[in-house]
Structures are given as C-alpha cells and as structure tokens.
C-alpha cells in the first residue's frame, strides 16, 4: 500500500481558518496542524485572509555547508533571544529522498530549547522534491509564524548546493555560517552564496585557525563593494553569541545584492511553476524513456 506523504491523518477535522485563529491566540497544537496544511499546500495567503508580509528583517535564513554548526548556533541564538523576552520560531529544512520520498529530519537533536522552551517553536520541513511547493510553503509558514507573535523566524537549510540558497532567498536576510579548516583561502574567493549573504559568521572560534579563516573571508570580500559584516563566534563556548544575537536583530540588507536576490527568487518561482505542471510525471517519463534531452524538451515546450 502506497502511503501518501503529508496525508495528514491528524487534524483533518478542523478548518484552517479556525486553526489560524486558535494559533494566533497561542494554541501550539493548532499552529502545528495549520503548518501541516501549509506544508501540504492546502492553504494559501488568500485562504487565510492575510497578505504577504513586508520585508522587515524578521525572517532570517541560515545557510552553510554541512557540519559548520548551523543547528548549534541556532540553539544558542534561541537561548539568548528568549532570555531577552523574545519568541522565536524555527523552520528546519532537511532533504527528502528523491527515490522513496521519505526523509529523516534530525535538526531538533542539536536544539535543546526546541523541546522545553515555551517561547520557541521548531518545525521540521522535508523538501519533498515535488510540486515545487517547498519555497512557497516556507514563505507562508514563516508568515503564519510571524502572525502568531513569533518575533523572529529562522529558516535553517540543509546546506549543500545551489537549491538551498534558493530556499533561503525567500528570507528577508541571509546569514552564511562558515567554519575554520574548510579549505585554503581560494574557497573564500569563490563566487556563490557568499556574495548574497548579509552576514557571515565564522563558527567554532574556539578552534585553531578560526582567526585566519575569518581574515581570509574578510580579505576576499574587501575588494567587493559593500562587504557584509564577518563575525567570529563559538556555539560551543558561547563566545560572540551575544553580539551575533544583537546584530541579527538590526541587520541591514546588503546593498547591491538586490539583483542577485531577485534572480534567485525568480528561479525559485520558476522551479516551482515547472514542477507544479499537471503533466510533470509524463514529462519526466518521456525524458527517461526516449532519447529526447531535457534541453530539447525545454526548447520545444517552454518558448515564449
């Protein structure tokens, strides 16, 4: 028997608008169930009666390579911000298997406050490879969380490759997490998300080589106009965490990245539209069973 992911066995009995009202008044279970509906693409801004949020810096994307310490840094930020009286929500994105559709969502493991701090709400999202709904769901989920009085929404990505940059491009601000000993200084010269980031955090500042890693990044960015701030921090010792938490609350968007961001958002929307085509499975089948290349299909079918 094929089990549909997101068939949402629980919660089918209540209307999203009712759930939304209950969630706004502070009911966690209603918020959780509403987020399931968001993830399944069953609700939209329109159906909830809200308009897309103004960009105000309160939705922050956290990206970086696997193992640099994104989840641990987020955990420290959660402690710091909540002890200052803020309410914080986290959307932790992990990949779905392209073969089975299943996913192992493990970001909570490293977030202690996820399970006991009443002012924290952590929700794991699987990328679900399909109808491209991912970025849309993240945007709406973040908006819903902001409506439910969460002061900051953090979006944590898987952290490998271009597509994760895209997911983060839906956030108001992008923080790139780096760590020492991740290669020579040429790595920092490479183009990519580093150019889109509004802030770069070099985590693991307790390790030898972290100063040099930060210096490399700073010198690589120096030649560009408007380099983003580069901060050293350690999720392990909490060094630099206060400053990071402070700066993130008032972080300005990096000037000059508007075009690049707009391009990422356009590509996100484009992926989403393409993968939401009703005939997407037939298209994929025809590509696997015939000699037609994907390039040919695009040229034949997507001309405008």
């Amino acid at each position: 028997m094929k089990v549909e992911i997101g068939s949402g066995l629980a919660g089918r009995e209540r209307l999203p608008t009712t759930l939304f009202e209950q969630a706004i008044s502070g009911n966690r279970r209603s918020l959780a169930k509403l987020l399931t509906a968001v993830e399944n693409g069953e609700v939209s801004h329109d159906s909830l009666g809200i308009s897309p949020r103004e960009v105000d810096g309160s939705v922050i994307g956290v990206t970086g390579a696997p193992g640099v310490g994104k989840s641990c840094l987020i955990d420290r930020l959660l402690s710091t911000w909540t002890s200052n009286g803020l309410k914080i929500a986290v959307i932790a994105v992990d990949p779905s298997s392209p073969l089975t559709g299943g996913a192992l969502l493990g970001d909570r493991v490293r977030m202690e406050s996820a399970d006991n701090n009443p002012n924290v709400f952590v929700r794991s999202f699987a990328t679900r490879n399909q109808p491209g709904g991912m970025p849309n769901a993240v945007v709406l989920a973040a908006d819903v969380m902001r409506h439910c009085d969460y002061d900051v929404v953090l979006i944590e990505t898987v952290g490998a490759g271009q597509s994760e940059i895209r997911v983060v491009s839906v956030a108001d601000r992008i923080v790139l997490v780096e760590a020492p000993l991740r290669g020579d200084e040429v790595q920092a010269e490479k183009a990519g998300v580093i150019e889109l980031a509004d802030m770069i955090v070099v985590n693991k500042s307790d390790l030898e080589g972290s100063d040099r890693a930060a210096a490399n990044i700073i010198s690589a960015l120096e030649v560009a106009s408007n380099p983003p701030p580069v901060l050293l921090a350690s999720a392990k010792t909490s060094e630099g965490i206060e400053e990071l938490a402070d700066q993130l609350r008032t972080l300005p968007a990096k000037p000059g990245a508007e075009l690049a961001r707009a391009r990422e958002r356009l590509l996100t929307a484009w992926d989403s539209a393409l993968l939401s085509r009703k005939d997407i499975n037939e298209v994929l089948d025809s590509l696997t069973s015939s000699d037609n290349s994907a390039q040919e299909w695009v040229e034949k079918n997507l001309r405008w």
Binding site: M1, K2, V3, I5, G6, S7, G8, L9, A10, G11, R28, R29, A32, K33, L35, T36, S96, S97, T100, G101, G102, A103, L104, L105, G106, R108, V109, R110, A114, D115, N116, F121, V122, R123, S124, A126
Partner: protein, 148 residues
C-alpha cells in the same frame, strides 16, 4: 506519515532507533529523530509541534514500564488522542499487556524484520482511513501481533 522516533530516559543505546528511523524513511515516511535521553515531556512536545501521526519509543534500559505509559498519558492530556504509539527494545512478553493497556498499539522486540515495521504503519493508515480506532486515546483493543 510523519513519525517521531524517540529515545526516552537514561538509555544510550540508539542503534535500534536509528535503524528503525532509517527503515521507515526508506519506506517513504518523514521521520523526526529526537536524539538521546529525552524526558516524556520533551517527547510529547516534539510530537505536538511536529504534528506527528505516530511516535515510536525505543528503550533498552528496562525503564519502559514507567516511561512508555507516562508518555501515553501525557499525549492524551495534551489532546493527542489520535496519535499512534508503538515501541521497541528489550521488553519482555509478560510486560507488554500493561503497555497495550496504556494505549500503545505495537511492541517490537529484537529480531523484528524491517518490513514488519512498515507493514504495521500501513495497517495503521488502513485503519485510520476506515475510521477504526488506532490512536493512543481512542480505545478499542486492536494491537499489532508482532513476530518478535
């Protein structure tokens, strides 16, 4: 299905929980792993926030007779009556009836085949779609008869 796999109590043996998480992932489910040494309260909070359909509890420390019923009770108190609870680990046959009484629907011992876990999940889906009780607080006497 969204399934939480949890390790309650002071038990450091997570090989089984990880293998089960992996097997359920490969069967096409979204599995949220909690990590080691969680309290019943933390596990219930995870189930609640993640809006999970099922939660699997793993214990090899011998504390299952206290921890599993406690989690079932907290789930019911939190209004998660419709969440299906199952468990696994070193759980003697003689101690299983009391766990079933607390609302659990399956206990899997050492030697359980991978496919049996996903057969169980499929059976739960089947029962939900035909409106038969399967949640921790939904009553009824249906339990999975496991092979090990």
């Amino acid at each position: 299905m969204r399934i939480v796999i949890a390790k309650p109590g002071l038990d450091g043996h997570d090989r089984g929980a990880k293998v089960v998480a992996r097997a359920l992932r490969d069967a096409g489910h979204e599995v949220i792993y909690t990590g080691l040494r969680r309290t019943p309260e933390q596990i219930v909070r995870t189930v609640l926030d993640e809006d999970a359909d099922m939660v699997g509890l793993s214990s090899l420390s011998g504390a299952h007779a206290f921890l599993f019923p406690r989690i079932c009770q907290l789930l019911i108190e939190a209004g998660c009556n419709d969440v299906t609870v199952f468990g696994g680990g070193i759980i003697p046959l003689a101690e299983r009836p009391i766990l079933f009484e607390s609302g659990m629907r399956a206990i899997f011992g050492p030697g359980t085949k991978m496919h049996e876990m996903s057969d169980f999940v499929d059976a739960v889906v089947e029962r939900v779609s035909t409106n038969q009780p399967v949640g921790v607080g939904e009553g009824g006497d249906w339990v999975w008869s496991s092979g090990a």
